[in-house]
């Protein structure tokens, strides 16, 4: 479904700063893939390269066989790539209902909009007409972000740390949401950036990123032994030993 071929991304920062280095990765359909790695390892940058928010300085990206490297954010969205931001954006004046309408790409009824809100554990009638402005708490904003992505029903959805800022409601529900998405959208895959062991535990495949490079790829059982005891492993919160330090 998604293929990254030798993707790199660097910025001018005095000298050349390479944030993503020669990353090659394939995500098959019907997969649940988690990218993990220390803070600053380039995970969000990689997600933005996939969504088209950043353009690679090297390499190519294919989606369903098509080279999308040069396509805009909009074109990629229309082809079926969804993206939930790590830090959701606020809008003065736009309401939750407005945003869900835009996400669904059509008028949606209040009751339909409410379904998405209930999915993310928000009492729909309290939120549907709220403006997405500074009055919403961080956790509320994050849930609304997830609801808008659900409303899009995309083939490939990228979530950047969906659990961050969400209280204990989260895990069972969040995981249920991911499972429902995979069941309901035919041949869809989900790519999640996460540090959470419980999310890593349900992944079909884990990708460990370190300093902009892929350090290892595999199932949980394959990846854990490789990364434990390394810098990446210590700074991630997985494994009993590592967790104590977190």
């Amino acid at each position: 479904m998604l293929e990254l071929k030798n993707v790199s991304f660097s910025v001018e920062d005095g000298g050349q700063l390479e944030i993503v280095r020669d990353v090659s990765l394939t995500i098959e359909k019907n997969k649940f893939v988690v990218i993990t790695g220390p803070n600053g390892s380039g995970k969000s940058t990689l997600a933005k390269l996939i969504a088209g928010i950043l353009t690679p300085t090297g390499g190519q990206i294919f989606f369903d066989g098509e080279d999308i490297t040069g396509l805009s954010i909009t074109e990629r969205a229309k082809r079926g790539i969804g993206f939930a931001f790590q830090a959701p954006v606020r809008f003065k004046g736009l309401t939750v209902h407005d945003l869900l309408k835009i996400a669904a790409g059509q008028e949606i009824s209040v009751s339909n909009a409410c379904t998405y809100l209930s999915e993310v554990g928000l009492c729909a009638k309290d939120y549907i007409d709220r403006e997405i402005n500074a009055s919403l708490s961080g956790g509320e904003l994050k849930r609304i972000e997830i609801a808008t992505v659900l409303a899009r029903k995309t083939k490939l959805t990228v979530f950047d740390e969906p659990e961050a800022g969400i209280d204990l409601w989260s895990f069972q529900n969040l995981i249920r949401i991911f499972e429902d998405m995979r069941r309901d959208i035919k041949d869809s895959s989900i790519l999640i950036i996460s540090h959470q062991e419980r999310i890593l535990n349900i992944a079909d495949e884990i990708v460990v990123l370190e300093a902009g490079q892929i350090r290892s790829v595999g199932t949980k059982d394959e990846v854990y032994p490789q990364v434990l005891g390394t810098e990446a492993g210590e700074r991630m919160c997985f494994g009993q030993a590592a967790r104590k330090e977190c």
Binding site: I53, I73, V89, F91, K92, G93, A103
Partner: protein, 308 residues
């Protein structure tokens, strides 16, 4: 309403949300002539003797009634100044909908300068809605220079919603208010300018007596080569609360000058001011683009929401 032609009806629908003759009192003015009037048991409308405007008298205690006074100009080259005085009786609660629509397909300028004075009696509450709208593709300008004066007696309140989103080439709007004890004034202004349009909005609220409050919020968008000036001043001469906020988006070559000012003449006057001008945040555009909108569609959505 029967006397109005198609263009005039369309203008009225734009400025007063009216598609048929409204309930309650009304006075329609079309091309400088009276086009319809209705009074009620509690609301009287009289033309001024010198013919320069109307007096609207609302009896004390009038509740839940409305007055519509739309004005439309559809002939090119008309220029008029109209004086309308509202006397709102004590303890009444009314909605007043004004508004002016100009359609100018000709080459001469059309101008309507409405001078509205509101004398709001003790304990009365007024909701005032004013929309300005221009259309027509002639090169004659559409000009609106409204002056609004508000005098709020003890314990009265006025909520003003003033909207100008489209088609007015040049506007200079002046709003002045004086507030007595415990009176409250809320002004919500929404403005969008295009092309070579200019808009100046001058608001001056003077709080004369204690316990009164004034809240002025302006949201505006300046596109193309348009220019806006927002000049809001709150003067507190007694223990009171005042707040002004000017929040603007600039696009293209648009320019905005915000000149807010506060004057406290009493140690217990609490006055606040906020102002922000900037282009649409890039991350807002990006977010909507990841939802499948083009950049232009995303801009439209953000602006519509902002001015809603």
């Amino acid at each position: 309403m029967e006397k109005l032609d198609g263009i005039q009806k369309r203008l009225i629908a734009e400025v007063a949300d009216l598609h048929e003759v409204p309930m309650g009192a009304y006075n329609f003015r079309a091309n400088s002539k009276l086009a319809g009037r209705q009074t009620t048991a509690n609301i009287d409308i009289q033309s001024k003797e010198n013919g320069t405007g109307i007096d609207i008298k609302i009896k004390p205690g009038t509740k839940k009634e409305s007055v519509h006074i739309p004005v439309v100009l559809s002939e090119s080259g008309l220029k008029e100044t109209v004086y309308n005085d509202f006397y709102v009786g004590e303890d009444s609660d009314v909605v007043i909908v004004a508004g002016c629509g100009i359609d100018n397909c000709g080459s001469q300028d059309s101008e309507h300068d409405g001078i509205h004075r509101f004398f709001v009696g003790k304990g009365a509450h007024v909701k005032y809605v004013e929309k300005h709208y221009g259309s027509g593709d002639g090169n004659g300008k559409r000009i609106l220079n409204p002056v609004t004066e508000v005098y709020l007696e003890e314990g009265s309140s006025m909520e003003m919603e003033m909207v100008q989103i489209k088609g007015v080439d040049s506007t200079e709007r002046t709003t002045v208010a004086e507030l007595k004890k415990d009176a409250s004034l809320v002004i919500r202004e929404r403005l969008m300018t295009h092309g070579e349009q200019t808009a100046n909005s001058i608001i001056k609220a003077t709080i004369l007596e204690e316990g009164a409050s004034a809240d002025v919020v302006s949201r505006s968008v300046a596109r193309d080569h348009s220019y806006q000036k927002f000049d809001a001043c709150i003067i507190g001469n007694a223990p009171c609360h005042g707040h002004t906020e000017c929040d603007s988006i600039i696009m293209d070559q648009g320019r905005i000058l915000a000149v807010p000012s506060l004057e406290a003449n009493d140690v217990d006057a609490e006055l606040f001011h906020e102002a922000a001008i900037g282009k649409i945040a890039g991350e807002q555009l990006i977010k909507l683009m990841t939802l499948g909108l083009t950049e232009a569609e995303a801009e439209e959505q953000i602006i519509n929401g902002f001015l809603k």
